[in-house]
């Protein structure tokens, strides 16, 4: 008990263990901070910036910033909501996301965040960047059109699967996910049971043959907004 520290999120006092990130402490306290690249089983990465919060009036990524005693974190302000919406919109216009006929619809974290944050049509113009689809693997396909470059696949393969299937190549707007093979995904040692496949938050990496086994309307975020599971902890924590 004595090694716990206290800080506030939007004025409400929260307890944390030193060494935790703001996001980890918030999760435990049942406070949901929006996120895309962060995943509970993976090391923090800090690429999507959707978890941006103000820490003592300075912007920080909640998923990478450690807690410190007495810090004041702002998350649910109109200013930050707008920044988050802008970031989500950037991801939507950077890729090519056709939600209504995407297999991931309803289970997609990007789409779900758009709903939760009240995003309507993006105010930014679509970039219509050209991306490839790789369906060479018998059980998996990857559609780069929907990739948000969150590195969950890269990290999962290394950290959880003990492999090294994915890595980024290129830089800037040309950055993309590549595979550890001189040809395509089918030539790697990736397997459909890899965590790297499961942990993709959007419809970029998909399993073949199971796309519509759960009908749209009955999927994860069709029934409750993203973050509800974390917020449910608040009730039990009390």
């Amino acid at each position: 008990m004595s090694d716990k520290i206290k800080f506030t999120i939007d004025g409400v006092e929260v307890e944390a263990t030193p060494g935790q990130t703001i996001m980890q402490a918030a999760d435990e306290a049942g406070v949901y901070i929006p996120r895309l690249c962060a995943h509970k089983d993976l090391l923090p990465f800090g690429s999507c910036r959707v978890c941006t919060v103000m820490v003592n009036d300075r912007p920080q990524a909640a998923c990478t910033q450690p807690v410190s005693a007495g810090m004041s974190v702002e998350s649910e302000t109109e200013e930050i909501r707008q920044i988050r919406v802008n970031l989500i919109e950037m991801l939507f216009v950077e890729g090519n996301h056709y939600c209504p006929f995407c297999e991931k619809s309803g289970n997609c974290e990007l789409q779900a965040l758009g709903y939760r944050l009240g995003m309507l049509a993006p105010k930014y113009p679509y970039m219509f960047n050209k991306h490839d689809v790789d369906a060479s693997h018998p059980d998996i396909y990857i559609d780069h059109n929907r990739c948000i470059l969150c590195a969950r696949c890269v990290r999962s393969s290394k950290e959880l699967d003990g492999k090294n299937v994915f890595q980024f190549v290129g830089r800037g707007i040309h950055k993309k996910v590549a595979f550890n093979s001189d040809t395509n995904l089918g030539a790697t040692d990736v397997s459909v049971t890899d965590k790297a496949i499961e942990n993709c938050p959007v419809g970029a990496i998909l399993k073949k043959g199971v796309g519509y086994s759960v009908p749209i309307g009955k999927r994860m975020y069709d029934t409750q907004p993203i973050g509800s599971d974390i917020e449910a902890r608040k009730a039990t924590a009390k």
Binding site: T52, V93, M127, V169, R171, H174
Partner: protein, 605 residues
């Protein structure tokens, strides 16, 4: 050929200890020998250093001086910085195109030449400039461009391109370059004489803690741009846990318009190495690394020779100057063309043989830097200041400049002025006085601090150059009344889009969006609302980006919107009919018709 490649790569990797953290040296060498790092080469490298081919590909695809695609024997990289454009680089480019029969981004069919654009190569005071392989060519004209191609075709050797040599050490046989120093004003710190070893000798007579105290008393702040107190950084690094500590000198100098470190590297390398060695003593480090940008490869042999001299004089190596147990040496790490590698954590990634992605902070480099060792990264000029502080005293240094910004600052001034070059001036100098020294001609706008700094106008000419007012890492670009602030901002946005590492959303996608809307406005298709749009977008990118690049990348647009708003307002028009100006019905129709493979019957004209 394939066997040859494998054998060569084995040798190259072997020479680098088959160490994947030396990936930069390995892939640079392969690129140099084979004109590319082919897919096959990636497999061989991965195998030799026990890595994965996708990791090698990840590195190769990141740096602009590395490529999977075959490059010509002579790679001509023409600088397309805004200053070069003002000095007629477009005509020079056309001469190259005509002479070679290829466009930029292409290679001649005989495999001899590749033509490329490149960002600022640190020659704004002698623009237009280009690199032919490692050879620096300055003050280009259409005539000299044609001559270069003729000479390369006739002699097949880029070393025979330069006939006239530059001043100072540029004429040294090991540099052998036509580059000029253009030192316009020598001040008491960087350009004051100091015999090699003198300051180090004094430092070694003190305790490490006393050395740090001196640097703190001098109130020295980092010269690389951010202005962090140097003594404090050293104190953190010294106090951090870890047996091995590292001193890194940041000689990446990628901020467009900055070329002062190039002059220091050419004329004052001993001073810089001395400062690094003092840092090593103060921090308790044994390893020093100079991260030298690929564009300055022509200085490498010369710098190596200065290092060799210092080793011979026991200014490096073991028990330096007889100080029992003080062992320190310096190696040069070459970059491979990436502005982001000037950012200290990206620089460390690069030194470790990775893509130049910045790292998450905390931990800070002082806690966990190069190969997880506590590391202090400082700028070239900062180390020079340190050496002089140790020799001449902290009080002497602190008396110069202004209270918050002590000492002098090296400025590299270019653009519309009669005396472009390097100036060592006391901090606190008025912008207007600086402009006068440089012989600015009708200055209308001045970009201080490079693209990541600010574009200021006449109203700010009474302000001062220092950390707390108009801050700069050294870049000052002057623009006269004929120049258009929007075009300047656009040049810089192109630069940031090109150089973003792509790690985080706002910088990767947001900068593209800023550039897009700026182009809409420049075409006369913008509305007054677009100005708010740009401000909101810029703010999101600045606030939410992960590193200094993205946090400052909207500055060209935000500062020109603030200081030259009238220029924007001239171009935007109220959107009365409510139609989206950027939507072109005829273009959309053409695309639709192409996709369908038939003519529209409804919209037939």
């Amino acid at each position: 050929m394939a066997e040859n490649l494998e054998k060569a790569i084995r040798e190259i990797c072997e020479l680098n200890g088959n160490d994947h953290t030396r990936m930069m040296d390995i892939v640079r060498e392969v690129q140099q020998r084979f004109g590319r790092v082919s897919s096959e080469a990636m497999d061989f490298i991965a195998d030799a250093v026990n890595s994965h081919r996708v990791e090698v590909e990840s590195v190769v695809s990141f740096y602009s001086f590395l490529s999977e695609k075959q490059k010509g024997k002579f790679v001509i990289r023409l600088c397309n910085d805004v200053i070069d454009k003002m000095h007629g680089v477009d005509n020079v480019a056309q001469a190259f195109r005509e002479e070679l029969g290829i466009d930029f981004g292409e290679s001649t069919p005989d495999g001899k030449f590749t033509l490329e654009w490149t960002a600022c190569i640190g020659m704004c005071d002698q623009a237009p400039a280009a690199l032919v392989n490692d050879k620096m060519i300055t003050r280009l004209s259409t005539d000299s461009a044609r001559e270069i191609i003729k000479s390369l075709k006739a002699n097949g050797d880029e070393n025979r391109l330069t006939h006239l040599l530059g001043d100072g050490n540029n004429a040294n046989l090991l540099v052998n370059s036509m580059v000029n120093n253009n030192i316009r004003e020598e001040g008491p710190v960087i350009f004051a004489k100091l015999d090699a070893g003198k300051a180090l000798h004094k430092a070694l007579a003190m305790s490490a803690v006393e050395v740090i105290k001196d640097v703190k008393t001098a109130r020295l702040r980092g010269r690389g741009g951010a202005g962090f107190p140097t003594g404090m950084k050293w104190e953190f690094t010294r106090a951090a846990e870890g047996d091995e500590k590292v001193v890194i000198c940041n000689a990446d100098e990628g901020e467009p318009g900055t070329f002062k470190d190039r002059v220091v590297l050419t004329e004052r390398p001993d001073l810089m190495f001395e400062g690094m060695t003092i840092a090593g003593y103060a921090i308790g480090a044994q390893t020093g690394v100079v991260y030298l940008r690929a564009e300055y490869a022509y200085l490498r042999a010369f710098l190596e020779s200065v290092l060799a001299d210092r080793r011979n004089n026991n200014l490096l190596g073991n028990n330096i100057l007889g100080k029992e147990g003080f062992n320190f040496d310096i190696r040069i790490q070459m970059g491979a063309g990436a502005y982001i590698c000037g950012e200290e954590t990206a620089l460390i990634s690069s030194c470790e043989g990775l893509r130049g992605d910045p790292k998450n902070r905390p931990p800070f480099p002082a806690q966990k830097g190069y190969l997880a060792n506590p590391t202090s990264v400082n700028n070239v000029e900062t180390f020079c200041c340190v050496a002089q502080i140790l020799d001449k005293g902290a009080g002497w240094f602190a008396e110069m400049g202004s209270t918050g910004s002590t000492g002098t600052k090296l400025l590299s001034i270019s653009g519309d002025c009669t005396r472009p070059g390097v100036y060592e001036l006391p901090f606190g100098i008025l912008v207007g006085d600086m402009l006068e020294k440089a012989g600015a001609e009708n200055p209308y706008a001045v970009q201080v601090g490079g693209p990541s700094g600010q574009l200021i106008g006449k109203a700010d000419f009474q302000r001062t150059i220092c950390y707390d007012d108009v801050a700069t890492g050294g870049s000052v670009m002057i623009f006269n009344e004929d120049r258009n602030p929007l075009e300047i901002a656009h040049e810089f946005m192109e630069f940031f889009c090109e150089e973003s590492c792509g790690y985080c959303t706002p910088c990767r996608a947001g900068n593209e969006l800023i550039k897009e809307r700026l182009e809409v406005i420049m075409k006369g298709e913008g509305t007054p609302e677009d100005l708010d749009y740009l401000e909101q977008l810029g703010k999101t990118v600045a606030v939410s980006s992960r590193c200094g690049l993205g946090q400052t990348s909207p500055n060209p647009v935000l500062s020109s919107l603030k200081n030259f708003r009238g220029e924007y307002e001239k171009l935007v028009k109220e959107n009365k009919d409510g139609m989206q100006r950027t939507f072109d019905i005829h273009k959309a129709l053409a695309t639709g018709e192409e996709l369908q493979g038939r003519k529209s019957v409804i919209y037939a004209d």
